[in-house]
Amino acid sequence: MQDSEIRAGVVTTLCEVAPEVDPAQLSGLRPLRQQVDLDSMDWLNVIIGWHKRFGVDIPEADYAKLTTLDAVVRYIGERRGGV
């Protein structure tokens, strides 16, 4: 799976939880939870969505690594690659 495909899937999941988000406006570098208004329940639902979409396990201890969109794409790419 290419990075671009992962990115598209990551964004699709985000938009399922936060339908008002315009994918074109998302920056890859800005803190994700600042760009998208996500409370702790939303965030959990986003993680569950990524887990289901990509088949990767995301331990709670790794949440801190998922700071930006770029970081999420990198993280999921590595987790998938490591399987």
């Binding site: 936060a18 008002e20 702790s40 959990l44 569950i48 396990d57 709670e60």
Partner: protein
């Protein structure tokens, strides 16, 4: 014969409008069945019936009706069947009843009452989502019951029965604002609030969560919010004057704790539907129910029993980053508990300053129902509960 009436879905609701009936005259209903969709200022609500029996005449769609207006007659299971279809105008019930039902469109002069359709709740729900007319389907289930598969098949087939117009499920921001304004203005006008605040250390609770969540798949992980809500319910044992409703000049305490959870809606607005019987449910069940409640609140699929039953409200505004929150009580409730941001603080402990994760727990309570002494006992009990996550 019992009346099924327009429920009060919150302190601010005076009228509602049935926008969809999910049953037909002659259908058998059971306690807890969703029978109608009622539009309120806070969006469309699935209204449950708390009667067993056979449904009779239905109030008309798209007409504003006051709370308490009769929406349908229900014939109890033990009651003798009536010989002829009940005429709406011959009703011997109270005048408003007749007035409301008399506005219904005249029912078609069918000789026999509509055959009772056996429809599974899941099928009914799905049919509603897909706009499938359940009455037009032939059921494949036990006793010709219409099943989920029947509904989905009907929706997928090209010759599907004509779909009902899609139901608007969202809310109008202006109406939502008006509903909040009305309830909160009433609260500030009528309720003499008092406020207390207490920083609560949550290291033990966070450690307990971390260990527990580390071995669980993401779908079974718990949020701190669930521990906070359960701790509130258990702490209310020390302060029953904070749990219930202020009605007819006095406090009516509630044995059960139905926690209204303040949920902010995307696009503005706020709704605080109930998690039921929180005091007696295990954490994983509460977590699943909370996730479901938030999802349905945002998609406009709340049920009437969730709208009119909270006995206390909890708001978790700290999730957005503020240190503390002092709430406005939702009448006729008598208390609101607020949690601020969870973060590390300099904490004095046994003569040393240590970093400690903590959260501000606040209480806004109705001085007509309790005093600060009771409120303080509650916050103390809450803090103690959170030091013993195993007991939650």
């Amino acid at each position: 014969m019992t009346d099924f009436v327009m429920p009060a879905l919150g302190a601010d609701m005076e009228t509602g409008k049935v926008v969809q009936w999910l049953v037909r005259p002659g259908d058998r209903v059971r306690r807890g069945d969703v029978v109608a969709v009622v539009e309120t200022h806070k969006g469309a609500i699935d209204v449950e019936i708390f009667l067993d029996g056979v449904i009779g005449d239905l109030a008309p769609l798209e007409v504003q009706l006051p709370v308490g207006a009769v929406l349908a007659h229900v014939q109890g299971a033990g009651e003798p069947m009536q010989e002829a279809p009940r005429s709406v105008t011959s009703s011997s019930a109270s005048a408003p009843t007749a007035a409301v039902l008399a506005t219904a469109a005249p029912s078609p002069p069918t000789a026999a009452p509509a055959a009772r359709r056996n429809v599974s709740p899941a099928a009914r729900r799905r049919a509603q989502e897909l706009g499938v007319d359940i009455q037009a389907l032939s059921g494949s289930g036990v006793e010709a019951a219409v099943t989920l598969a029947d509904v989905e098949q009907a929706a997928a087939s090209p010759g599907a029965p004509p779909a009902a117009p899609a139901l608007r499920r969202g809310f109008e921001p202006a109406q939502m604002r008006a509903a909040i304004a009305s309830a909160m203005a009433r609260s500030k006008r009528e309720i003499p609030h008092y406020y207390l605040n207490e920083p609560v250390p949550v290291r033990v609770a966070l450690d307990w969560l971390r260990v527990r969540n580390a071995v669980l798949p993401v779908t079974e992980r718990l949020l701190l919010a669930v521990l906070l809500i359960k701790a509130v319910a258990l702490a209310l044992r020390a302060a029953p004057q904070l749990n219930g409703h202020f009605v007819e000049g006095g406090l009516r305490p509630s044995a059960a704790v139905h926690v209204g959870v303040a949920i902010s809606l995307r696009g503005g607005g706020l709704i605080a539907p109930a998690l039921h019987d929180v005091q007696s449910k295990p954490l994983p069940q509460l977590m699943a129910e909370l996730a479901d409640l938030v999802t349905r609140a945002r998609s406009g699929r709340l049920r009437s029993s969730e709208m009119n039953s909270p006995t206390i409200t909890v708001t978790n505004l700290g999730d957005t980053g503020v240190e503390s929150v002092f709430g406005v009580i939702y009448p006729p409730q008598v208390a609101l508990v607020g949690f601020g941001r969870v973060g590390e603080r300099a904490w004095a402990d046994a003569g040393r300053i240590v970093p400690m994760p903590a959260v501000d727990a606040s209480l806004a309570a109705d001085h007509r129902a309790s005093d600060g002494h009771v409120g303080a006992a509650f916050l103390r009990a809450l803090a103690e509960q959170l030091q013993q996550p195993d007991t939650l």
